[in-house]
Subunit: 225 residues, 4 copies
Amino acid sequence: MISKLLSDTCATVRTKHARRKEARPGELLAAALELFVEKGFAATKAEEVARRAGVSKGTLFLYFASKEELFKAVVRENIAERFPQWNAELEAYSGSSAELLRYSMQQWWARVGSTKAAGLAKLMMSEASNFPDLAAFYQREVIQPGHELIRRILQRGVDKGEFRGIDMQYGVYIVLAPMIFMMTWQPAMGASLSPNDTLDPQKYLDAQVDALLLGLCRTDRPHTT
Amino acid sequence: MISKLLSDTCATVRTKHARRKEARPGELLAAALELFVEKGFAATKAEEVARRAGVSKGTLFLYFASKEELFKAVVRENIAERFPQWNAELEAYSGSSAELLRYSMQQWWARVGSTKAAGLAKLMMSEASNFPDLAAFYQREVIQPGHELIRRILQRGVDKGEFRGIDMQYGVYIVLAPMIFMMTWQPAMGASLSPNDTLDPQKYLDAQVDALLLGLCRTDRPHTT
Amino acid sequence: MISKLLSDTCATVRTKHARRKEARPGELLAAALELFVEKGFAATKAEEVARRAGVSKGTLFLYFASKEELFKAVVRENIAERFPQWNAELEAYSGSSAELLRYSMQQWWARVGSTKAAGLAKLMMSEASNFPDLAAFYQREVIQPGHELIRRILQRGVDKGEFRGIDMQYGVYIVLAPMIFMMTWQPAMGASLSPNDTLDPQKYLDAQVDALLLGLCRTDRPHTT
Amino acid sequence: MISKLLSDTCATVRTKHARRKEARPGELLAAALELFVEKGFAATKAEEVARRAGVSKGTLFLYFASKEELFKAVVRENIAERFPQWNAELEAYSGSSAELLRYSMQQWWARVGSTKAAGLAKLMMSEASNFPDLAAFYQREVIQPGHELIRRILQRGVDKGEFRGIDMQYGVYIVLAPMIFMMTWQPAMGASLSPNDTLDPQKYLDAQVDALLLGLCRTDRPHTT
DNA sequence: CATGAATGAGCTTTCATTCAT
DNA sequence: GATGAATGAAAGCTCATTCAT
């Protein structure tokens, strides 16, 4: 018993210092993501991030040179870094382009839209004008790759004769708008909806994808989705 | 003589003060709307609002107990009640539902989306969590009537056999998403786009409406828009 | 009696607000000069300057945009602004150049060297490398005009056949060195001298001027240098 | 076998540690001297001193209880006792006193003024008021012997009939001022001069010595001072 | 002994709010 | 009523110092 207690204690103590360089940044990034999304960039205090990560103010600045750098790291870890993988998945997809589009939006929901990272979009929207550096960073690291990804999906459909020919610049927004709407508008304004009006994300996505693919208008022949 | 002089002076001063007194709150609210929309709540300085309204910092706090109260007043003041008129226009419309939908969205852009009022949507979105009573107000006075309006347009299309049968709760968002996206996302994140990527609102709306009505998929028979 | 008390009170109160915009900057500059000279630029805390001037921290920044601007204002008020007058006095002087040089150095002592402003030289010396902006400012506003002033005095003597022909660039330092030495070295290292070794500024200046003018060597016999 | 391995390992470690242990303080003092001279006391960071000495921050505080103690140690360590040798050279000199003075100042430049040790003068000057005991030490060990040395040179000239009779207490400063000026003022304020205004130390010294010996006034005509 | 992660007091600067005039 | 000088609580960031390993 005693030896067990001791080893436990030892483990705990060990942990506290051993996990330092490795675990700290992750804990800080997690705390920062939560707080940024919750309160916005400007309203989030560095000290609060540190406290939520269980460290002191000074420690935060040991790992991130400034609050802006912390934010960039949050964006990088939660979004920017994942584009390569998403691009690879796109290349490997072998089904129809309609299926790919539906699949992509569902994956986006599962991996971003439904996570805390989704709040970053709303965050950027509010703070972009006050922090031009962050806006430029987000534009470069998130928006441009995102646009590019959507454009490829659409182009694939057009190239394979599955989609109508459309202006790509505006076509991208047809796909983007429902996702951005879901990330930015719903958490803010949907919160005060009566419970039975709350959106089911799956149904929302299905409805949006159906509309994108088939349109609202009736047609007299069966579609291939 | 002296009393005449005094009363004259007094009258002049009074008139000037009285006239200005009524105008003050309006000028302050107008200045505050502009600045809140431009920079957000936190980044807007009380002194700048006062300066833009042509009064001193102290005067602002004479009319509004705090910056928060000013914000509330701005939102309350500016969220118009144009829904009755819009509903009437809807009832009177005699063309096809597809045409009505396109017309409605273009009217929305002309009357709301392209005006200063559009900025209020972004504003509400960012600050909703900090001003729950305002969020509820906005929900009740703007969002619910807006949803209802869209729902009626869609229902009209379904009833007349022009639109597919869709779940109305989710169908509303098919129309809403591109509009909210245009109001909230573009001004913030589109600003840093290269000039030749800047969106033309008309083309954006056309592309969105085409997609909503026809879908992205090719069909082998002519549509009736 | 009562009316006197009242009027006194009133006067005091009046004073507190009436002297505001006019007197504050001066009081702050005086406090800043004292503290900068006493503790150096970096070690002087803004709050302490404010406290010594009898105002709050915020008030300081109402009048001076930053600590650096405060410092520049101190230098400007105490030194830089006075060169025009000194130059004018130089132009008007009608005596011999030797007398002018002696007079100038005595005036320098009376107006700068013996005042608190003398400490600014030591201050700049220590902080120059850490605050390049301040160093450049001081160079431009004080050192260059100062050099120019000395150069003119020497040139006057040479032109009138009173002084030997000398290289002006180095000649300036012959006059400057004893003054800078007095301002920088003495207050720091002379403070710990035994009382009867303490320098009498007048004698110091006389000895220096005598040396500058006549040299150390006896003039009734040929030199062997 | 095992014990041999252990002791070997131990020995190696020990040797390495033992050797370094003695070197540590010296390396730290050298690094600290450089940095203090370069940037001043306050602006020198403990971590930078440690890094330049090739050890960690913690090690510095193992050898010196605080940054202040480190500063004191640096000054004590570096203020050499070369005065006996210089005094001996003075006694042995057989040329004219004017030549001796010029020679002495050139030697001072070569052995002190142009070396890192010159920076200590500026350092002491800035921090004297914060370290009174160091100031006293410097006064006793450096300034007084220095004064004494200069005084002897001048007295020699007077005794041999080469120099004018002067008040020794003030005469010392005639020689000292240009040297202190060169050590303290030039490195700080001369750095921002345009390149073609940069001082050549030899010319500076020559100009100063010429002035000291001959004076500025022409000697072929009567002076009017 | 040596390390370097962690700390937190302390600094400059901002800005909503107050209140004497 | 209107003013704007004055306030002081924060907030981001630094760095001397500590201490578990």
